[in-house]
């Protein structure tokens, strides 16, 4: 009897591949198949009817889908850039502190420990137009005496969601950038000082390039998470008012579960997964380029 001999790397990778295949790939293939059928949860036999690319054509010409798509891209760009800026500022401020840094670092990571669904409820509460913290504070300070409908007005609702998203994830950027700040070699900074650079110049031309890989890692991780944003929006506004905050995944969740049109929902799902993969690959290439520039190899 000959025993099958596998190369060691494959043996080591096999558990990961098997689990991902079972839990991610097989369900995805199932839903890929169902995206070519008019599958409705309420009529299981509709799973066996093949209608080709009908669902995809429908999604691509659906204004609601493209509106949600645009909003997701808007949320991605606005939230990621704000998180990056705030995270950078926070990390710089915390790194300059000499005493009590450990406590500050833990406080800084406080929002990271919140479950997205909890963040959703928390900000639903805080932005409540009647008893919410924000309105109460504004009214007590005498800035306004009308109840501002944060979650009911179309534009304000999107702002509230971006606020919640930025609040949760700024720490992710801050912690990674802080790690980067600790890892900066001191020699180039000193050389810059000797050469007469202003603090701004040495930050711009020495510190920042060194931090870029850390920023891209955070961007790559977060772009995946924001592209999948569901919990927070679902809880805060449920895509409302009048679909003004409808994102890709709330739209898909609604189409799949509430309207029970699973086949159509899956077709939209596949189009949006490509969006997420595009962003991941994009930041991955940026990361590799930034690493190469710093001579960190691949």
């Amino acid at each position: 009897m000959t025993r099958l001999k596998l190369p060691p790397w494959l043996v080591l990778l096999l558990p990961a591949i098997v689990i991902l295949a079972a839990v991610v790939m097989i369900p995805l293939l199932l839903s890929l198949y169902s995206s070519f059928t008019p599958y409705k949860l309420t009529r299981p036999d509709s799973l066996y009817k093949w209608i080709g690319t009908f669902n995809y054509e429908k999604a691509l010409t659906d204004a609601k889908f493209w509106a949600a798509f645009g909003r997701t891209v808007l949320l991605l760009t606005v939230a990621l850039n704000l998180e990056m800026l705030f995270g950078l500022g926070l990390a710089l401020m915390v790194s300059k502190v000499t005493r009590g840094q450990r406590a500050l670092r833990t406080m800084m990571m406080f929002p990271m420990m919140f479950s997205p669904i909890l963040v959703g409820f928390q900000f639903k509460f805080i932005f409540n137009d009647n008893v919410g913290l924000v309105n109460n504070a504004l009214q007590s300070l005498g800035i306004t005496d009308v109840a501002i409908p944060w979650l009911v007005d179309g534009q304000l609702a999107m702002f509230s969601i971006i606020f919640a998203e930025v609040w949760t994830a700024t720490s992710v950027f801050a912690i990674l950038i802080l790690a980067g700040l600790y890892a900066i070699p001191q020699d180039p900074l000193e050389a810059a000082k000797v050469d007469g650079c202003t603090p701004w110049q040495s930050f711009r031309f020495v510190t920042l390039p060194f931090l870029m890989p850390f920023i891209y890692i955070a961007m790559a991780i977060r772009s995946l998470d924001v592209a999948r944003a569901y919990d927070i929006v679902q809880i805060m506004t449920n895509g409302g008012p009048a679909r003004r905050t409808e994102l890709l995944w709330t739209l898909i969740g609604r189409t799949g579960y509430v309207d029970a049109r699973m086949g159509y929902a899956n077709a939209m799902g596949y189009i949006s997964i490509f969006l997420a993969i595009f962003f991941t690959v994009f930041f991955f290439r940026k990361l590799t380029a930034a690493r190469a520039e710093l001579g960190m190899g691949t």
Partner: protein
């Protein structure tokens, strides 16, 4: 002399600005959470008061008492949820770390064809949202009969965490020079011994930080858990949070109390390991 004094003044102003900025940032970061904690101790009348009551007149444990109390008086089976969450998060983190260590080690130490593609392929599985997976997974799990069990949720969470743990751990092992393990092998260790006695201890801080991320992800996950759990036998805390939501009303006080209970373990864990977390991230994430 005059320039010296202005210089000193400027430094003092900058320092004050720095402290003020830090204070403001921490206020924004911690404020909403602290407000939730405060509200969990306040009677509902005060939470809903209009005009608002800023200085609490009365703090009590009513919401906690109700939460731990019987189901009839607004309580939820919170201890069961807590236990479910703990079992599921700890087990899935442990398994994800083992699988991630094996995979990360393979990526860090071996050369093989299609390595970059397999790596990117693994990462892309993370692009799939819980909502997209939940229905097909539900159908699949229902067929095998592992719906509403700890095992089913653990399996799903392991798959969710593995790509990221592999990515981080791969970075940490790349930091450990291969010559270390080779030297140990020359001294008579087997490859296995060399791994556990030389390479593992060096990469430990990094592996711990990968573990924290995995734990927090599974502790906080909602979309998958909401589909894969049906009853108290497997519901986790984030799903349990919805027990406080009736059709038109929300029991804010009770919800705040459960939220506090949910944050405490994460807070303790993060405080204990945050030093390693930073060291680990420096190590692993970037310098591949």
């Amino acid at each position: 002399m005059a320039s010296n004094a202005t210089h000193r003044n400027r430094r003092r102003a900058l320092k004050a600005l720095h402290l003020f900025g830090l204070f403001l940032a921490m206020l924004v970061l911690c404020g909403p959470g602290l407000w939730i904690v405060l509200n969990s101790f306040r009677p509902t009348v005060e939470i809903m008061a209009k005009p608002p009551v800023w200085i609490p007149n009365e703090l009590n444990l009513d919401h906690y008492r109700a939460m731990f109390g019987g189901v009839g008086e607004g309580g939820v089976p919170v201890l069961t949820y807590f236990r479910n969450s703990l079992v599921i998060s700890v087990t899935s983190t442990a398994i994800a770390l083992l699988v991630g260590m094996a995979g990360g080690y393979a990526f860090a130490r071996y050369r093989f064809r299609g390595k970059a593609w397999i790596f990117v392929g693994l990462m892309c599985t993370r692009a799939v949202p819980g909502v997209a997976l939940s229905l097909p997974l539900f159908i699949l799990f229902a067929r095998i009969g592992i719906i509403d069990t700890h095992f089913g949720v653990i399996l799903a969470y392991v798959a969710m965490n593995v790509p990221f743990t592999i990515w981080l751990i791969d970075g940490f092992f790349r930091q450990v020079p291969p010559s270390l393990a080779e030297a140990a092998q020359i001294d008579g260790c087997t490859r296995w011994q060399a791994f556990w006695q030389v390479e593992f201890p060096v990469a430990k801080a990094g592996i711990a930080s990968a573990g924290i991320f995995a734990f927090l992800t599974s502790w906080n996950e909602y979309a998958l858990a909401a589909q894969l759990t049906r009853s108290v036998t497997s519901k986790t805390m984030p799903v349990g949070l919805l027990d406080f939501q009736a059709e038109f009303t929300l029991n804010w006080g009770g919800m705040c109390a459960l939220a506090v209970l949910m944050i405490i373990p994460a807070l303790i864990l993060t405080f204990l390991v945050q030093k390693h977390l930073i060291a680990g991230l420096t190590f692993g994430g970037v310098k591949g």
